[in-house]
């Protein structure tokens, strides 16, 4: 139940270096180093600690939900990369299939100082997210700040947290591994080539559609071994475009193999 008081609290944004609690999560901005030099990128992370019983959302939130996003306010010349989204889990909220996170999740963000960086830089980002449980959804937001000082990079206390987060970010393999998509009226036939001579067993991978509104969010994606390639047939999303032109899948192994990301784009007719 949302009371007027919680609504007021949720709408206030506090600028703080410590974690900011809003909606049903706490947010802070951590960095692998507190120092850096001109043009030397620093890996940082937006960390959300979601209250027990709630979840927040992946880049493809599924049906309903909303992905975490950041609006940057950086000193001149600084460049922020896109936030990276770790491998999610599946859940169903109020009958709607979704993808996202429970507990603590860290979204790595790469920041690059300009060539004339010196002294101290105060970086700002307004983070917005949505937390839901079966009863309802509550948005949260936080104005976060990160201060970086000129100097040789050195691991900060949170460097290990960021390293662990990076291991959950899907990697794009070389061109030898490829995804192909063939459309039928109701389904998509997915095939992955280039794994025949590796020990990768895609049947054991959990597979997520990173592109929204192409594959039915509630459908499990199960690859089967056909020798030269792995294939899976999945139901299309009822909101799929008339002609599917692009699909990115995230595949996560059950063991400690790095998750991978495969993208297919239709070639021009």
């Amino acid at each position: 139940m949302i009371t007027p008081t919680t609504l007021i609290l949720a709408s206030l944004c506090t600028v703080s270096l410590a974690a900011v609690h809003s909606g049903k999560a706490s947010a802070d901005w951590i960095s692998s180093s507190r120092t850096t030099e001109a043009e030397m990128p620093v890996m940082t992370g937006i960390r959300l600690a979601v209250d027990e019983g709630y979840h927040t959302y992946w880049i493809n939130p599924g049906e309903g939900g909303m992905k975490m996003s950041v609006k940057w306010d950086l000193p001149e010349g600084w460049v922020a990369g896109d936030p990276q989204y770790p491998v999610p889990k599946r859940f169903v909220t109020a009958d709607l299939p979704g993808f996202g996170y429970e507990g603590t999740v860290v979204f790595p963000v790469n920041l690059t100082p300009p060539e004339d960086f010196s002294g101290v830089a105060v970086l700002k980002g307004k983070v917005t997210w949505l937390t839901c449980d079966d009863k309802g959804c509550i948005p949260g937001n936080a104005d976060l700040e990160l201060t970086l000082t000129e100097g040789a990079p050195a691991p900060a206390a949170e460097a290990k947290v960021i390293d662990a987060a990076l291991r959950k970010i899907p990697l794009t393999p070389g061109n030898r591994i490829s995804l192909k998509v063939v459309e039928t009226p109701e389904t998509l036939v997915l095939s992955v080539e280039g794994l025949a001579k590796t020990n990768v067993n895609l049947a054991e991978y959990e597979v997520f559609p990173a592109t929204p509104e192409v594959i039915d969010a509630g459908a499990k994606i199960q690859f089967i071994d056909e020798g030269a390639k792995w294939t899976a047939e999945v139901p299309k999303s009822e909101y799929a475009p008339k002609k599917v032109s692009e699909l990115t899948l995230v595949l996560a192994g059950k063991s400690d193999q790095a998750p991978i990301s495969l993208t297919w784009k239709a070639t021009g007719d």
């Binding site: 139940m1 949302i2 939130p61 049906e63 309903g64 939900g65 909303m66 996003s69 909220t93 109020a94 009958d95 709607l96 917005t128 949505l130 839901c132 009863k135 309802g136 959804c137 509550i138 948005p139 929204p212 509104e213 999303s237 009822e238 909101y239």
Partner: protein, 198 residues
């Protein structure tokens, strides 16, 4: 006993037709009483464009569109063009956000709802016939009684009011096309919002 049971079942079927809602097909028929006690029946609305809007006022995505005044503006603009706008609440009794009819009427007044009718669909019959998934989920029914739009209110699946002005106005554009007798582009798209609490 048997007779009563049979007539109850027959009554339930009379309220909502069993067809699923598909673009270009006949929109599922329904009849209900609105918050003011007026009878609303889709079959009586032939010849007029009808909008269905699913609502739940404690949903942050709904708050975005009522808090910014976007929804009320769409409702009054539509009303000025002879569109019948039906706001539907399908929250089941006992589910989060459920309100008695009188409380819902008070809240609708407080929010400045400008729709033609506000219908309590507590048993979820209308919502399920249309497969209304989230709040807000928008539908447009043409003058001929066919489904012309099933989708999102706009393109930005966020809760921030500032995003209303910069989003692609999917629903508003669709309504404009329907009223102009043109084909709707993107007639079916994924709505965003909070799951309907059936």
């Amino acid at each position: 006993m048997k007779t009563i049971l049979l007539s109850t079942i027959a009554g339930a079927f009379a309220l909502v037709s069993a067809n699923a809602a598909d673009i270009g097909q006949a929109a599922p028929a329904f009849s209900a009483k609105d918050l003011k006690g007026r009878e609303v029946s889709l079959s009586d609305l032939k010849g007029r464009t009808v909008v269905l809007e699913w609502v739940s006022f404690d949903c942050p995505f709904v708050k975005k569109h009522y808090g910014s005044g976007n929804m009320q503006k769409l409702q009054s603009d539509a009303g000025s063009k002879d569109v019948v706008w039906i706001t539907v609440n399908s929250v089941a009794k006992g589910k989060p956000g459920y309100l008695e009819t009188s409380k819902m009427a008070e809240l609708a007044t407080e929010k400045g709802v400008k729709s033609t009718h506000f219908v309590m669909d507590t048993d979820g019959a209308i919502g399920k016939a249309y497969n209304a998934k989230v709040t807000p989920h928008m539908f447009i029914i043409s003058k001929e009684g066919t489904l012309a739009y099933d989708g999102a209110i706009d393109s930005k699946a966020t809760t921030g009011e500032a995003d209303v002005s910069t989003a692609d106005k999917l629903f508003a554009n669709a309504l404009e096309a329907v009223l102009a007798g043109k084909e709707v582009e993107n007639a079916k798209n994924q709505p965003y919002g909070c799951g309907v609490k059936y």
